[in-house]
């Protein structure tokens, strides 16, 4: 897949030679064994599946899904993984599939595991695209995101990460033309975060939900639990040939794909509302609410208590 290879002396000399001979070429060559795994789930639609892990030197921030869509005129990349190193591997996967120019890099939301690979695409001079609230959200959290990821990724995987904010900020539904196929971008109201963007590829009916859809990996709440549940209800009525989750398998079928996530969030909301009604406190809630879901998700112990805290702070105002 995308495991790092030991660099042999021969590789090193080859790379050094390439760099010396062609200084304008990308510093990170698109060698096949450096490329991220990417599966063509529909014609011209490629998805890389991230690991169900926290960021680490070993996974280099490769812990979310990232996709690219190839049109006649160019390519759109959807999310870029959690480091410039992982982003470069994604770029290598794009280059293994097509030589068409990368016109757009679209971020589904502000979280580091979806945007920290942006820097790897700078050399291709794409237009960076995001929800109109992404820049504010990422800019105010950027310093903290960088500090945390520096520590968790380690120096090697942190190398080259920079915060690249979108230059096209989507406030209303917008269509990007890739030649022979269009991507429809829709900014959503506050749900997983306050800057979730969904993308539909019209040619194949593929709907990219970003972190509005978690599968296997426990959902993480950084927006509004009531907003997210309401949006899931709306998304369930969407017609889509397939959906791509932000964390989960390469592709899933609607509407079943959303059901476990809806059950998880509804379980938290139900338990928290009941506890608030009984006069219980936040401390009570984080010990019990939603724990019936514990065995259904990976990384539950890392994120669940935080999800409950956020839900409690929101729902106590109802």
């Amino acid at each position: 897949m995308c495991g790092r290879q030991l660099i042999t002396r021969q590789d090193f000399l080859k790379a050094a030679l390439t760099l010396a001979a062609a200084p304008l070429l990308r510093a990170l060559p698109a060698r096949a064994d450096d490329a991220a795994e990417a599966t063509e789930i529909a014609p011209g639609v490629f998805v890389h599946q991230g690991r169900y892990e926290l960021q680490s030197p070993d996974n280099r921030g490769d812990m979310a899904n990232a996709s690219f869509v190839v049109g006649n005129d160019g390519v759109a990349v959807i999310d870029t993984l959690g480091s410039a190193v992982a982003g470069a591997e994604l770029l290598a996967a794009v280059r293994a599939a097509t030589n068409k120019p990368i016109r757009y890099v679209i971020n589904t939301h502000m979280h580091p595991d979806h945007v920290f690979g942006n820097a790897a695409f700078k050399g291709d001079a794409p237009t960076f695209v995001g929800h109109h609230k992404l820049a504010r959200g990422l800019a105010t959290r950027g310093e903290r995101y960088l500090a945390i990821n520096k520590e968790m990724l380690g120096a090697a995987a942190f190398e080259g990460i920079e915060i690249i904010l979108p230059t096209v900020q989507v406030a209303d539904k917008v269509t990007l033309d890739l030649g022979g196929r269009e991507l429809v971008l829709e900014p959503q109201r506050t749900a997983h975060t306050d800057n979730d963007l969904t993308i539909t590829d019209t040619a194949t009916g593929t709907l990219f939900l970003g972190d509005l859809l978690f599968s296997v990996h426990v959902p993480t709440l950084d927006g509004s639990i009531t907003g997210w549940l309401a949006l899931i209800e709306e998304l369930k009525s969407r017609q889509a040939a397939r959906v791509v989750p932000g964390h989960g398998p390469h592709a899933m079928e609607m509407p079943g794909a959303l059901e476990p996530e809806e059950r998880y969030l509804a379980s938290i909301a139900g338990d928290v509302r009941r506890l608030i009604k009984e006069g219980k406190t936040l401390e009570d809630a984080i010990k019990t609410a939603g724990f019936s879901e514990r065995d259904a998700w990976k990384l539950f112990d890392h994120y669940h208590v935080r999800n409950v805290s956020a839900a409690f702070a929101e729902l106590e105002w109802e």
Binding site: T140, A147, I148, E151, M152, D194, T281, L282, E283, V305
Partner: protein, 271 residues
């Protein structure tokens, strides 16, 4: 008040290594307290962990901008309480709140005070209680959390200022309504902004604006008055006990640093 970026970054990053480094951090923390104690209490002796006051705080905070803490005075302590001061040694302003208790504070059962705080760095959290006899009692907990102040932000800033100042007051009767100690809760919709965040549209720091004074009365008698700082989390939330009165009706007046005043009262209880 400016936050050393490097130490914040370091602290955030250290989260993963909390257990390994805690003794080192805790030792450094003690030094802060010496000066802080002198500043607030002078040479007065403080009796630590003597059971008069108990502090509940999580060892690791899942969300450093929303850390629940509870101060309890066990039922066997019958004295009236004068003041309670809460500290977070490593916060930019280490004094979280100073609470002065009034005649409606109640006795005859366990008394408690809970709130949610921001913790900017691995820090000791302290509750110093002054009893009626003038003695000081302290309970301390170490909390591994970081980035709660500089990194504090609303999940959805556009809704943050909607209903600013909206204040809810709730009364919770004890299991037996004849019990002498009742509970109340005050919730204030307020960003409690700490002047440490950038507005990316203007590149200016968002000016600090936080709740600085809260007065709670039961049937017109003072339960407590609190002077607070931005170490209290967004949408300040207080849960406290009070002595049973004729109507058990709570009146709350809140003042923020802009001089805005918000007032609210509880629904009549038992109706």
């Amino acid at each position: 008040m400016s936050l050393p970026i490097k130490s914040l970054a370091l602290a955030c990053g250290l989260a993963a290594f909390v257990i390994a480094l805690q003794p080192f951090v805790a030792a450094a923390d003690e030094d802060d307290w010496v000066g802080l104690k002198q500043q607030v209490f002078g040479d007065r002796p403080i009796s630590a962990e003597d059971g008069v006051v108990v502090l509940d705080a999580p060892y690791t905070a899942d969300d450093p901008s929303l850390v629940p803490i509870t101060v309890r005075v066990p039922p066997e302590i019958k004295q009236k309480l004068k003041t309670l001061t809460l500290f977070i040694d490593k916060n930019p302003d280490p004094i979280v709140a100073k609470i002065s208790f009034g005649p409606a504070q109640g006795t005859g059962g366990e008394r408690s005070f809970s709130t949610r705080v921001r913790i900017d760095n691995f820090s000791h959290v302290r509750a110093v209680l002054e009893t009626e006899d003038g003695q000081l009692h302290m309970a301390t907990k170490f909390v591994a959390a970081s980035g709660g102040c500089g990194a504090m932000q609303a999940k959805d800033p556009d809704t943050e200022s909607v209903d600013l100042g909206k204040t809810l007051v709730k009364v919770f009767p004890p299991a037996l309504e004849s019990g002498p100690i009742w509970s109340g809760q005050v919730m204030i919709k307020h960003p409690n902004s700490n002047g440490m965040q950038l507005d990316i549209h203007t590149a200016n720091v968002i000016p600090a604006r936080f709740v600085k004074d809260v007065v709670v009365k039961r049937d017109g008698e003072l339960v407590f008055q609190m002077a607070s700082t931005f170490s209290i989390s967004t949408n300040p939330n207080f849960r406290f006990t009070f002595g049973r009165g004729p109507n058990n009706s709570l009146d709350v007046a809140v003042t923020d640093t802009d001089g805005a005043v918000f007032a609210a009262k509880s629904e009549p209880s038992g109706s």
